[in-house]
């Protein structure tokens, strides 16, 4: 029971990170119907931006307060990662709009290869680690054998930041003109354009929002694990995509729900079965969902028309 509660806590933390990345996949897929393969690598790039900013603040400027440093890191990473993704969309995807479905996918795969190798060349192939932050824990309860169920400050931070940003983001999508434009483009781009919505701009903003949330995930990932390498984009990327598919691609609450489920499955699988096959479990869920529930948990069924 105690192990279960502890794993639940760990799983929700991991799941929040996946959920944040998954929103990027689901939004981009929703609006231009493209699997943005490079999104996992954008997440990895954001973790590196956070790493450099964090080192700059702590070792160069000597900012002592970790909370202040983290807030600045978060803002800088979100801004710069948004700029990166905006540029990627502009350079690699926009010229291909209106051509076949495969062309942007191949372009995105190329971008993904480019990004991970760029970081490898620019920052070296080694793992980059930072000192552990907030390693205090709050012991919730302990069983007689001395097994403590605890929540670390780091985990609370991940939950808090995720919750706040999800709320802000949900507000933007459901309550503002920008969000309305976005949902309109998702339904029918031509009609949206006729009604005076700047479709190109809306798509750009979608990529910017996706990148900003990926940057939050990247910063949290760096703070939580304390280590990042150039190859860290692919597997979280595919798992987040799995989460987006599981929740129902195109559905925002679905992406978060899917992320939490994938995180929980992965952590529980590691705890009760074997760590070796935890990725197999995640990928099997993807395959099984696609086969039996292709529209996902919260997605709309895809109606095929002639």
């Amino acid at each position: 029971m105690e192990v279960f509660v502890q794993q639940l806590i760990n799983g929700i933390t991991l799941g929040s990170i996946y959920g944040l990345i998954a929103i990027g996949y689901t939004m981009v897929f929703g609006i231009i119907g493209m699997v943005n393969f490079a999104h996992g690598d954008v997440f990895m790039v954001s973790a590196f931006i956070a790493l450099v900013t964090f080192l700059f603040l702590t070792t160069w400027l000597g900012i002592g307060s970790v909370v202040v440093a983290l807030l600045i890191v978060l803002v800088v990473a979100m801004l710069l990662t948004s700029l990166v993704n905006w540029t990627i969309e502009r350079v690699a995807y926009r010229p291909l709009r209106g051509s076949s479905r495969l062309a942007p996918l191949i372009s995105a795969i190329g971008m993904s290869i480019f990004l991970s190798n760029f970081v490898q060349v620019a920052q070296g192939p080694r793992f980059k680690s930072i000192p552990q932050l907030f390693d205090q824990v709050i012991v919730l309860f302990s069983d007689p054998d001395g097994y403590d169920v605890s929540v670390s400050y780091k985990q609370l931070m991940v939950w808090g930041v995720t919750a706040v940003l999800l709320f802000v983001f949900w507000f933007v999508v459901t309550r503002t003109a920008l969000g309305r434009a976005q949902r309109a483009c998702e339904q029918d781009q031509k009609m949206a354009a006729l009604l005076g919505i700047d479709v190109d701009r809306t798509i750009s903003i979608t990529f910017v929002i996706a990148a900003a949330l990926a940057a939050v995930a990247g910063t949290m990932y760096l703070m939580y694990y304390g280590v990042v390498s150039f190859a860290d984009g692919f597997v979280p990327g595919v798992k987040a995509f799995t989460a987006a598919v599981l929740g129902g691609i195109g559905s925002l609450p679905g992406a978060v729900l899917g992320g939490l489920l994938i995180g929980l499955v992965e952590v529980m699988w590691s705890a009760y079965f074997s760590t070796d096959y935890k990725d197999v479990a995640a990928f099997s869920i993807l395959a099984i969902t696609m086969i039996f529930l292709p529209q996902g948990i919260l997605g709309r069924p895809d109606v095929e028309k002639v």
């Binding site: 010229p95 062309a103 372009s107 395959a287 696609m290």
Partner: protein
């Protein structure tokens, strides 16, 4: 009246503004990743080092590139778009090229090893035949195999490398455990891969387009993870070494008196095996091409192409889409299995490292960049992409330009990804985007690029 070409006005001020903006954006993006380098100091802590000159150089390159783009390329494109489209028929040289390129390429491929021997000598030729010849031909074969699935049947398969792995591991394990020969195991590995193709294809082929792509990706990863974790059989990350090498129809390539060199009265040299392997993979690749060409004329091949164009129309015409897709999947998997067992026999060592998602992505990229369904296009893309990255290994003279620490091989995959994006933007339908119809009324017409539809599965 102005002459039509001068209607494209070159706006210098705009070019400067755009260049400044591009430089600013490049500065923002590159500042953390290039401007600073994270290095470990002696206390094993990460510290930052600055690289301002490099940052300044890259920002300047981006700004200059944007400036030239605005000043030269955009006006050029605009002028080209204004030029009236005079001819509907492609120019004569294109027809001649299309007619003569395939036999010429085949002839070149056949005389390549003697040519390399003649030009580079016994010592130097091994590298050229192995790194360029055999390596490229493996990818040509994989590209042609996947072309059946993606190019003809329009099913986007991102886990193709799984079948390549099945072929390689079947050969390695069966040859090591039971001592069976390469020629016996080649068809067996192909059938096993085809069997896996059917097994994996069966549940997923109801899915369409992108969904199919992602599930095949997942299956590819699952197979790789099983290869990594099923240590008793596959030896995990360490891989299988000492895989038996192929023989010349029973005669081994070694220095013994029963060896190939002694039997044929030649001086022993490892190059004979390399040349033999070259011709084996050449034969396998052309088998793939021949089968593809023949199948396109058979009902099943026409069903594949019809399926690619419109699945609903296919179904309403009474084509069993599931079995049509499955045969394409199995056929593609079989050729990957052949290529895999050849790969294992050539390397003598295999590990899960060789079967990552990147490999699948590279093969898919070759098919799409080459032009879906076009054998010549896929082969061209394979030669450019694999040959290009191999050539990066040879550019030692760049060390004189950029200093001793400069290692061109580091930049292979970086340029590879960049080239993928560029080619896609330049030719979104692939290098060879016209298509010869396999069935026609009265006379053969080339299908123009605009009407060539692509894998929607």
């Amino acid at each position: 009246m102005e002459a039509p070409h001068s209607a494209v006005r070159v706006d210098l001020g705009r070019a400067v503004r755009e260049a400044a903006l591009a430089g600013l954006i490049a500065f923002g993006i590159l500042l953390p990743l290039i401007g600073f380098n994270t290095v470990q100091n002696i206390r094993n802590e990460l510290v930052l080092e600055t690289r301002w000159p490099l940052l300044a150089a890259l920002v300047a390159i981006v700004a200059a590139g944007r400036f030239l783009h605005e000043l030269v390329i955009i006006p050029w494109l605009a002028r080209r778009a204004m030029r009236p489209r005079a001819e509907h028929a492609p120019p004569a040289w294109r027809a001649a090229l299309a007619r003569w390129a395939p036999p010429f390429a085949l002839g070149f491929a056949i005389v390549y090893p003697p040519l390399a021997l003649w030009l580079a000598g016994f010592q130097g030729a091994a590298k050229w035949i192995d790194n360029f010849g055999v390596q490229i031909l493996i990818y040509v074969m994989l590209g042609w195999g996947l072309n059946i699935v993606v190019g003809l049947a329009g099913l986007l398969d991102l886990g193709y490398v799984a079948f390549y792995a099945v072929g390689a591991y079947s050969y390695a394990l069966l040859a090591k455990t039971f001592g069976l020969s390469f020629w016996l195991l080649l068809p067996l590995a192909g059938s096993l891969a085809a069997f896996w193709g059917i097994l994996l294809g069966f549940p997923v082929l109801r899915l369409r387009g992108d969904y199919l792509a992602i599930v095949t990706l997942a299956f590819g990863e699952i197979i790789r993870l099983i290869l990594i974790n099923w240590v008793p059989v596959t030896n995990g990350y360490a891989g299988i070494s000492g895989v038996p090498r192929p023989t010349f129809f029973g005669i081994p390539f070694n220095a013994d008196e029963n060896g190939f060199a002694a039997r044929f009265g030649l001086e022993f040299s490892p190059i004979y095996r390399t040349i033999f392997l070259y011709y084996v993979i050449l034969a396998l690749a052309f088998l793939t091409a021949a089968v593809t060409v023949r199948l396109r004329r058979l009902p099943i091949g026409r069903a594949w192409e019809a399926l690619r164009e419109d699945e609903i129309a296919c179904r309403s015409l009474g084509i069993n889409t599931t079995s049509t897709k499955l045969t394409a999947f199995a056929m593609g998997a079989m050729f990957a299995g052949f290529a895999g067992s050849f790969f294992a026999a050539r390397q003598g060592f295999i590990s899960p490292e060789s079967f990552t998602f990147m490999e699948s992505a590279v093969i898919v990229a070759m098919v799409v960049l080459g032009g879906m369904g076009s054998l010549i296009g896929v082969a061209t893309a394979a030669v450019i992409m694999i040959g290009g990255t191999e050539i990066m290994r040879e550019l030692d003279f760049l060390k004189h330009v950029f200093g001793k620490d400069f290692d061109p091989t580091q930049y292979r995959m970086l340029l590879f990804g960049f080239a993928m994006v560029l080619i896609m933007i330049w030719k979104p339908r692939g290098l060879i985007s016209t298509r010869e119809p396999s069935a026609f009324l009265e006379r053969r017409k080339t299908v123009a690029a605009e009407f060539v539809r692509e894998g929607r599965g």
